[in-house]
Subunit: 253 residues, 2 copies
Amino acid sequence: MTVASLEDPTPEAALEFIEAEMAADAMITIVGECIVDYTGRTDSFLPAGERLVVLKPDGTLLVHRMEKRTPVNWQPPGCIHQPAVEDGVLTVQSTRRDPEEVVDIEFRTVLQVSAMRLADGRELDLVGTEEDLRQRILADPTLVEDGFTPQDTERWNVAGPADIYGEDAAGRPVIVELKRRRVGPDAVSQLKRYVDEFVRDTGHEDVRGIVVAESLTENAKALADREGLEFIPLAPPEDSVTGTTATLDEFGD
Amino acid sequence: MTVASLEDPTPEAALEFIEAEMAADAMITIVGECIVDYTGRTDSFLPAGERLVVLKPDGTLLVHRMEKRTPVNWQPPGCIHQPAVEDGVLTVQSTRRDPEEVVDIEFRTVLQVSAMRLADGRELDLVGTEEDLRQRILADPTLVEDGFTPQDTERWNVAGPADIYGEDAAGRPVIVELKRRRVGPDAVSQLKRYVDEFVRDTGHEDVRGIVVAESLTENAKALADREGLEFIPLAPPEDSVTGTTATLDEFGD
DNA sequence: CATTTGATGTCGGAT
DNA sequence: ATCCGACGTCAAATG
């Protein structure tokens, strides 16, 4: 695949280029000084400045500045991008339905326009998510507690959207809330809600609620204590990149 | 400002270009087939495919595919980008401290490299945030209820991080949770937490908790009812873009 | 610095 | 379609 590009095009040349490439499902990048106007869930106005604008064929729009990971303005996939030249100025309007949102970009200069069709079939393989943690615990429930037995993943309906539902050694119902990392009051609050709903739905007052996470903030700890919820620390599986050099012993084997 | 660009450069040429431009605090874009390896809070691997890579001078890294608003891989501001040529292949390594995170990119082809220094002094002006809603209510407390009087706008120490704290016509304490849009159980749960903490800290059992939002989901409504919390619908101020064409009357002036 | 919460959050899965 | 919760969430304000 190649990348086609125009340097310092006239607005008309840029428009012709963009229209042709959009019709061919290309991704477009535009570098230039622009004004960005957004109306939708909120409204925003971005005065003139130089930015990198990306138009994706799936309807995504990105306006990036020199700083930050988050674009200063954007439009999610599914939008319609409409480029035009109005009064000799290149504009792009991106519209969305439900919610109704519009981003208007007006270019005062166009330094570069590029178009590319990127061949990219493979998917991202992400490891270490909360779901992975869940599988790890289902495979070895003693990570939660000796005698803990998760119930069939299917009849988890009983515990609503709880991450894991099971019984302890004494047969008491247990609702587990999983988090990969240090958690605050919100996660504890969430578990509290599931526990309350379980009691309400089943009448079982003796249910236990357990947060399994890397750690708890102080406020979260206090809240858990107040609400009678438990916490079990669980470090990530030891493969982490935490950079400590291997001990000599490990080479001694 | 200009945009410098190389088409189909050799890895060595690309490296030289990138190093020079990074030294000059430029933002770099690289289009090419690449493999992306991430290790950090989780781990991920992205097999070979063509992508658009952006290196910002503030240490941000973006890897974008043809779809989605969210980059498939990234690094937040503050990271160190290290380009190199290894075994005749262009690579970029972006590292971060605390948490320790590394993104490794290996380019199998480089279709285009560009560099730009974008002049962009102005800030985004965003209107319609929750803070704006808060100001709207402080300016006109009857939006919540007749007789509602917000207390010390300053440090709401009394009511924790509640959005608004005040008293109703009868002098009962009121904690208000604001949301701009339709809210689910999480927001109700949050308000419940603030109310509980207020009761615990002050002993005032007669506190009211009110959700002020566009609307509530059914579950959120049920939860609010169970917990004795109130809901007050509040539409955005009427300026919305809701797209209805202007009536002829408006042109009649 | 850690904590907490909002966000034009985005995104995917389940109902 | 809506609802719901995770996210490598990000980013800002506060203590």
